[in-house]
């Protein structure tokens, strides 16, 4: 095809695009000899075929590319080690086999295990995990945040807020809201007064939604020292901010309002008249026979539930234990299983970052209820980010008759696991998972494979970090 110039080709191309009925294809000199030898054939076909073919040899000419976005650089600069190959394979296998209904709980739980081991997911796996990354923004690391920024705007750094390498007291204000919340909650756990000062200095520059958001982070280790700041916003022009202030003021321990609500809530736990505490219950070996849970009476069950929920909002298990003079275990023991008060305690512990109470509640749910929790209860625990129970508790769970019944049940049916096994695995510590595997060895593979896949991830991570 030597001899057809670029201009000639472009002229032919224009004619082909416009239509040869409008602009005839004029054969360039280089083609005339060929066409002369092809009598009886429509010359336009020859010209078209050869010109079209010559264009296929042209290399793409695109304007100079943009620079690589900053987010892409951050994606690969995260200092955390990437999940080792075996753990990565196990993780992707879990992602492949988990159903949509459980994925939203099980995958974040697996991601938390990766983070807890001080590792990060392989960057090449992140595109498949975008929905889970978006749903767990508070706990994302540098690479995951950078990938989300990249996924939103691959060409430019439209989301600088997602790109901070490490959130500090100097740059937290520029971080995305979810990251700010996480940072402030952590800071509050360590130093409530200094964090309050940080928040106070940032509040004037914030929008109404931002002010409300920042104020609500004071809920962690909330105390009388915070009242002054909160009260100064109780008459804010924004309803959102006023609501946040009211929410907080009702929770400040030691204030008359809180004391009144706590008193009312504590009245739901009454000692039975005339009943003496048994010796065993006094030393914590037997359940207290003297305590009863009596919610405020109502003719309407739903109204009663709503009233109890409102009453216990923001009241913690230790608060009630203190107010009633009972142990936390006594309180939990008298609550009906899966009661709204239990979940109110759970929500308060989560909100306030009280991990020890969270653990007490999780262990109670797994250990002390009449039957082993069903999948829907475990989903609530795991979705709330419940930490694995302690090793002794985990051993007790696996040795319990309630757990044996779960295993027997799973062994006699061919039904898949609707979450009971895999979510139990998610609530067990690494050290106990080999024992967990052996307890479900006889379970149908249909039922056990999700749980085993989860255990595989944890085991592969542990194998890479034998010292942990």
């Amino acid at each position: 095809m030597k001899g057809m110039s670029r201009a000639e080709i472009e002229g032919l191309r224009q004619a082909m695009l416009l239509g040869t009925s409008r602009r005839a294809l004029m054969p360039p000199p280089a083609l005339q000899a060929i066409l002369a030898s092809k009598e009886g054939v429509d010359p336009s076909l020859y010209i078209f075929a050869l010109a079209g073919q010559q264009r296929r040899f042209e290399r793409p000419s695109v304007a100079l590319p943009h620079e690589v976005p900053q987010a892409a650089m951050h994606l690969h600069r995260d200092p955390l080690p990437i999940l080792p190959a075996a753990a990565r394979r196990a993780f992707m296998r879990l992602l492949d086999i988990v159903g949509k209904d459980l994925a939203t709980v099980v995958i974040p739980a697996a991601m938390r295990r990766v983070t807890a081991a001080g590792m990060r997911l392989h960057p090449f796996d992140l595109p498949r995990l975008v929905p889970h990354l978006k749903a767990s923004q508070e706990t994302l690391g540098i690479a995951e945040r950078a990938f989300l920024a990249l996924a939103e705007a691959p060409a430019k750094d439209d989301r600088p807020d997602l790109l901070s390498m490490e959130i500090t007291a100097e740059n937290w204000i520029d971080a995305p809201k979810s990251q700010r919340r996480l940072f402030l909650r952590r800071q509050r756990m360590a130093d409530p007064a200094a964090t309050r000062a940080l928040i106070e200095s940032a509040l004037p520059q914030e929008s109404a939604a931002g002010r409300a958001d920042l104020l609500r982070t004071l809920v962690v280790r909330l105390g009388p020292d915070d009242v002054g700041l909160i009260e100064s916003f109780a008459r804010d022009r924004s309803n959102l901010v006023r609501e946040a202030a009211t929410f907080l003021l009702a929770r400040v321990r030691g204030t008359p309002d809180h004391a009144k609500r706590l008193g009312t809530a504590a009245q739901c736990f009454q000692r039975k008249k005339g009943a003496a505490k048994s010796l065993l219950s006094m030393v914590g070996v037997a359940k207290s026979a003297t305590l009863a849970y009596i919610p405020p009476p109502s003719f309407d069950f739903n109204k009663q539930l709503a009233a109890v929920e409102t009453l216990f909002e923001g009241i913690s298990l230790p608060d009630i234990a203190g107010a009633t003079g009972c142990t936390e275990q006594d309180i939990l023991d008298v609550l009906p299983e899966d009661d709204v008060v239990f979940w109110a305690f759970h929500a308060t512990a989560m909100l306030e970052g009280d991990t020890s109470t969270q653990q007490v509640l999780t262990e109670h749910q797994l250990m002390a209820t009449r039957v082993f929790p069903e999948a829907y209860t475990l989903v609530r625990l795991v979705a709330a980010g419940a930490l694995p129970v302690s090793v002794p508790q985990a051993n007790s769970i696996l040795a319990s008759e309630r757990w044996s019944k779960v295993v027997v049940n799973a062994s006699v049916t061919d039904a898949q696991d609707f979450g009971q096994l895999v979510l139990t695995a998610a609530l067990l510590p690494t050290q106990v998972l080999p024992q967990f595997r052996s307890t479900i060895a006889g379970v149908s593979p249909v039922a056990s494979r999700l749980a085993l896949a989860f255990a595989d991830i944890v085991a592969a991570i542990a194998a890479d970090r034998p010292s942990d």
Binding site: F48, R56, R59, P154, D414, V446
Partner: protein, 480 residues
């Protein structure tokens, strides 16, 4: 596999072979010896078989060759492999002791005898002629051949009949090519700028006429055109259309002028039109190019063609090519689209030691697996030529050899990924040359941004490149 059963079966591979999760779940439920009145293995542990009580009066007979995961089940399922095959394979992994050694029964022997020479696991056993004979029909054909030898007159009659059919088809194809030429001239007259609007209707009508003319290959190309245009970036659509229609014209010219073409190119043009080469014929063709080497599986992709066949492409990269060369092979298998997804025989990253027999071509690419043994999970890539220019040169050379090819794999090292726009990525090299990437891959390819220069294999059609695999500082990347 533990115990006395040898071969390549592993849980990972079985899960990968499963056409979907539902099949796997169903197979897991069948993993109970009580449901298998017969479970046995050959003395050498290379074949296992069983009888599974299903919903029919007689049990389904299932056989699996453990060396290559080849299988057969008598159940009527349209999933390949079915749950019975998967269950048998899983049991071979989990409870090998439940397979008692025994003499191979006749029905297993019969099936083994009928199996074609291919040693690789094949979701669908017929490569070149997807709608053609299956394993059992191959046996029938062999029986017919024996018959012919016994009766020379019948053989002559059959040969004459074949010749007549062949001539009729040749005439029909040429008539189809006339239609194609007229259609292209019409499109040129109307102008290609407005093609996208009239494409769906116009393309469907021509495709139907080409199918009638027994030029199925051309019909598929025409039908794919509308979809490919839609996938291509707006600015390059005109050129893609121009290139594809020009390619069709070239096929038309070349087919009419076959006698003047070199043998390999003649084979190419006939295949492009729709003529097929039987698998057995190719494997027995001693003149065919054969390459025995260590191959990396770099991509597996499944696509439903306009003719409702699912095409499964497996791309292999030769890990030990002659110095200075890059060798890539494409294995293609077909199955009915109605059967749903079919499990892939290989997984990207796998390394196999195999002999590949290439279809005769001026630019050999597509081949058949003649023998293979799995080697390792992942292996290093060979040294690839540096920069995009090397890849373009390989593409241009192949295009010069085989002018109507749609796309060609380009392998090169020392390239980086950059963003061109919000939804557009491109490969670039130290010379500033760029290679735009298929927009459909943007989100999957994002993690390649920001990495140090890496090696890559792409499928380039002259307008847009599809990333097949990359070998990077943080490990291999494979297309989703």
């Amino acid at each position: 596999v533990a115990g006395e059963i040898s071969g390549i079966l592993s849980k990972d591979r079985i899960e990968q072979l499963a056409p979907d999760q539902a099949s796997l779940s169903a197979a897991l439920k069948l993993q109970k010896p009580a449901k298998w009145p017969v479970l046995a293995r050959g003395d050498e542990g290379d074949v296992i078989w069983g009888e599974c009580q299903g919903s029919r009066a007689t049990p389904y007979r299932v056989v699996v060759v453990t060396a290559d995961a080849g299988y057969k089940c008598t159940c009527p399922s349209r999933k390949f492999p079915c749950k019975h095959v998967l269950a048998l394979q899983l049991m071979a992994c989990d409870t090998p002791a439940s397979f008692k050694p025994g003499s191979v029964p006749d029905w297993v022997r019969e099936w083994q005898a009928r199996r074609r020479p291919a040693k690789a696991p094949q979701p669908n056993t017929d490569a070149e002629s997807p709608t053609g004979p299956g394993a059992s029909l191959a046996a029938a054909a062999a029986a017919q051949a024996e018959e012919k030898q016994a009766d020379p007159k019948a053989a002559a009659r059959a040969e004459a009949q074949r010749q007549r059919l062949r001539q009729e088809r040749e005439a029909a194809v040429v008539a189809g090519l006339d239609e194609l030429d007229r259609w292209i001239v019409d499109q040129l007259s109307l102008g290609l700028a407005g093609f996208s609007q009239r494409a769906p209707q116009s393309v469907r009508a021509l495709s139907a006429r080409l199918v009638d003319s027994k030029a199925q290959g051309l019909a598929n190309r025409i039908e794919m055109l509308a979809a490919d245009l839609f996938r291509a970036p707006e600015p390059s659509r005109d050129d893609l259309l121009l290139g594809r229609l020009a390619g069709l014209s070239l096929i038309s010219f070349a087919y009419r002028d076959q006698a003047a073409l070199p043998t390999a190119l003649r084979e190419d043009v006939r295949r492009a039109v729709g003529w097929t080469t039987r698998r057995e014929d190719l494997l027995e063709d001693h003149a065919a190019l054969r390459v025995a080497s260590s191959w990396s599986v770099i991509a597996v992709r499944s696509e439903v063609q306009p003719d409702r066949l699912r095409r499964m492409d497996t791309w292999l990269l030769d890990r030990k090519p002659p110095p200075g060369e890059v060798r890539i092979a494409l294995l293609t298998d077909y199955g009915p689209a109605s059967a749903g997804s079919v499990g892939a025989a290989f997984a990207p990253g796998e390394v196999i030691d195999a002999e590949i027999v290439f279809y005769p071509s001026a630019a050999p690419l597509r081949g058949l697996l003649n023998s293979s043994t799995p080697s390792m999970r992942e292996g290093a890539w060979p040294a690839l030529p540096q920069g995009l220019a090397a890849g373009f040169a390989a593409y241009e050379s192949a295009l010069a050899q085989q002018p109507w090819m749609d796309a060609w794999p380009m392998a090169m090292s020392n390239v980086r990924l950059v963003s061109l726009s919000a939804d557009r990525l491109a490969l670039t090299d130290s010379n500033g040359q760029v290679l735009p990437i298929d927009m459909g891959q943007t989100s999957d390819a994002l993690p390649l941004l920001g990495l140090a220069p890496f090696s890559v294999v792409v499928l380039w059609d002259g307008c847009v490149a599809e990333l097949l695999a990359a070998d990077t500082e943080i490990g291999p990347w494979y297309r989703a």
